[in-house]
Subunit: 339 residues, 2 copies
C-alpha cells in the first residue's frame, strides 16, 4: 500500500503539494499537478480513509437506525436514503434495533466514538431523555418517528391527519364499529394515527373502545393474530384501520381463511401503500406516504447539519399524506348490523 509520502517522493515534491492535489486546492501550478497525478496513477495510490478521518474529524459515515429491514417500509426508506447518501459520497451503516432499547443505545455509541458523523433515527425505542445526551457528539435527525421532547431536526408526516382521513373514509362507507391496530406503544407515529382516528369518530359521536385496540402489530403474522381475536368477539368491528399494509394483508388473509368476506363482513384499510396492496384480493385501501421524498430530504438535511455543525435545534418538516381507496373498504351494500 503506497502512502502520500511515496507519491511525494516519486513526484519529487512535498506531501503538502500532493495533499493539495488530492483535495483539489486552487493554488497548485498545473505542471506540478500533473506530476503528482502521474505519480498517483503509477502507484495506484488512494488516500487512506482512516488517516483522513482522524485528521479531518469526520468519517463520511451516517448510521441509520431502523427496527428491522424485513419490514418493507423501512427497507424502502433505507433504499432511498442509500441512493441519496451515495450521491453525496456518504456511506450508510445499517443499525437494526430489533425494537430493543439496549441495541438502540449500543448503536448510539457509534456517534460518541466518532465512528459516524451523524445518526438518522427512523424509529425510537428509548425515552428521548436517554437519547438526548448523544446530540452533543453529533447530529441526530429524526425521520418518520418523532418525539415532542426532541430538540433536533425532524422529517415527519402528519400522522394524525393520516389516521383522520382513513377514519373519515371508513365512516363514509357507513361503518360505526371501527377497530384500530398499530405498532409499538411508545411510538408517536402510532399514537398520532390513533388520535386522528379518534377525532374522526368523535365527529360522528362515536368512539374507540379499548377492546378494539390492538397493539404491537407489525407483521403479516400479527395481522393473522389480530383477526383471530376479532373473530372471537361477541360484537365484532365491521372495519379495521391498520397502521401498516403487512398487518392489513395478514388480517385479510386470516379473514379469508375463516370465510369472513372483505370488505363485506370486515373492511380493512392499511398504511404505506406497499406493493402488496395491489396484489392482494381484494386490493387494499391505504394511506400513501412519500417515502422516497422523506428519505431524500432526511439525507440532505443530515448532510447540511454535518457540514454546518449546527444541529441542536428543533426543526420540523412535514410532507403530505394521501388516501388511496381500493377494494378492501368499498362495498355498495354494507352487512346488516345487529346491535
Amino acid at each position: 500500500m503506497s502512502t502520500i509520502d511515496d507519491v511525494a517522493k516519486l513526484a519529487g515534491l512535498s506531501k503538502s503539494t500532493v495533499s493539495r492535489v488530492i483535495n483539489s486546492y486552487p493554488h497548485v501550478s498545473e505542471a506540478k499537478r500533473q506530476r503528482v497525478l502521474a505519480a498517483m496513477q503509477q502507484l495506484a495510490y488512494v488516500p487512506n480513509s482512516a488517516a483522513q478521518s482522524l485528521r479531518r474529524q469526520r468519517t463520511g459515515l451516517i448510521a441509520v437506525f431502523v427496527p428491522r429491514l424485513m419490514n418493507p417500509f423501512f427497507s424502502q426508506l433505507l433504499q432511498s436514503m442509500e441512493l441519496a447518501a451515495s450521491e453525496r459520497d456518504y456511506q450508510l451503516i445499517v443499525c437494526q434495533t430489533m425494537y430493543s432499547q439496549e441495541k438502540e443505545l449500543k448503536y448510539a455509541e457509534l456517534l460518541r466514538r466518532k465512528q459516524v458523523d451523524g445518526i438518522v433515527m427512523t424509529s425510537i425505542q428509548n425515552e428521548w431523555q436517554a437519547i438526548a445526551p448523544y446530540v452533543r457528539y453529533g447530529p441526530i435527525v429524526l425521520c418518520n418517528e418523532f418525539d415532542d421532547a426532541a430538540e433536533v431536526p425532524m422529517i415527519r408526516l402528519n400522522q394524525e391527519y393520516g389516521g383522520y382521513i382513513a377514519g373519515k373514509h371508513l365512516l363514509a362507507m357507513g361503518h360505526t364499529r371501527i377497530a384500530c391496530c398499530s405498532g409499538g406503544t411508545r411510538s408517536q407515529v402510532a399514537f398520532h394515527r390513533e388520535q386522528g382516528l379518534r377525532k374522526a369518530l368523535q365527529e360522528h359521536s362515536l368512539f374507540l373502545p379499548d377492546t378494539y385496540i390492538f397493539r404491537d402489530a407489525y407483521s403479516i403474522e400479527d395481522g393473522i393474530r389480530v383477526f383471530a381475536q376479532i373473530k372471537d368477539m361477541k360484537i365484532r368491528p365491521t372495519a379495521v384501520f391498520s397502521g401498516g399494509d403487512e398487518v392489513a394483508a395478514g388480517i385479510i388473509a386470516g379473514a379469508k381463511q375463516h370465510g369472513c368476506r372483505v370488505p363485506e363482513d370486515l373492511a380493512v384499510i392499511g398504511f404505506d401503500d406497499q406493493k402488496i396492496t395491489v396484489l392482494m384480493e381484494p386490493n387494499i385501501s391505504t394511506v400513501r406516504q412519500p417515502i422516497g421524498l422523506m428519505a431524500q430530504q432526511t439525507i440532505a438535511l443530515m448532510a447540511e447539519k454535518i457540514e454546518s455543525r449546527q444541529y441542536t435545534q428543533r426543526e420540523v418538516y412535514e410532507y403530505p399524506l394521501e388516501l388511496i381507496v381500493r377494494e378492501s373498504t368499498c362495498v355498495s351494500v354494507l352487512p346488516t348490523k345487529e346491535k
Copy 2:
C-alpha cells in the same frame, strides 16, 4: 471530547497503561486498573475509532453489496447479516449497486481505501476480471451469487438443483411447454437455475425454446410484463418457472387480470419462499432458500478471513434447497393441450 491523554493524566498514569486497560491486556495491576476505569468513567471517555482504525489498520466495517434493498430476498439477507455482524461487533455498510457496473466498481474502492475490512458480494455486475484486482486489498466473500473464475471464499446454493427440482415438479404435473424467467444475463445464479430446468426437460426429451425465455425479470412489474408477452403468444406455455417470488406474483396478478386461471391455464412456480407466496391466491409454489443460514455463515466466514488475513483461496460452501409445493402449480386436471 476527552482523549486517552486526559484519562492518563487524571489517573496519574501513562497512556500505555490506559491503553492496556482499554484493550484488556493481562499484565496490569488491579489497583491501577481500577484507577484507570474510574478516570474513564469520570470523563465519559470512549476511544476514538478513527485513531484506532489508523493504528490497528482495521476498521471493523464490512461492506455488503446488494443490487437493491426493495427486493425482499436481499433485504432479508442483509437483515440476517446485520444481526450476525452485530454479534461480532462489526458494522455493515450498505452498498446498492442498482445493477450498475460503475456503482459496483465505485463501491469496491472502499476496500482499497481501507474504509472497510472486507466486502460481501451478494450479486456481481462486472466480469470477475474487473473485481479480482481488489482481493489484494482485503477479503471478498461471495454470498448467493458466484463466479467460476473467482478465487475467493463463497457461500452458495446449488441453483442448478433448484431449477431441476422445480422443473421436475412441473413435468410431474404434466406440463410439457414450460417457460423460464430469470434475472440478469450475467448472473450465474440465473444461468444455473436455467441449466437445471433444461436438464429436467431433457430427461423428458423436451427442451426450452428461446421464445419461452424471459430475462431481466426482477420485480412484480416485470412479472406483469412477462405475462403480457405470454398472453400474446400463438402457442403459450402452460407453466412458468420464475427465478423469484415477486416475479411469480406479478405473473399471477397479470394472469388474473386477463382472466387466465392459475394454475389451470398457467402454472407458476417461484423461488425464495417469500411471505408473499402464502398471501397470493393461489398460494405460490416455490423453492425455499436458507437465507438466514447463508447470511450467518457468510459473516462468520468473513470475520475469520479478516482475522486470519488468508483469503485468496477458492472455498465453496453449499447449502440445501427445498421444493415447496403449493396451489399455483397443482391442479388435478390439466387444461387440454392443443398442439
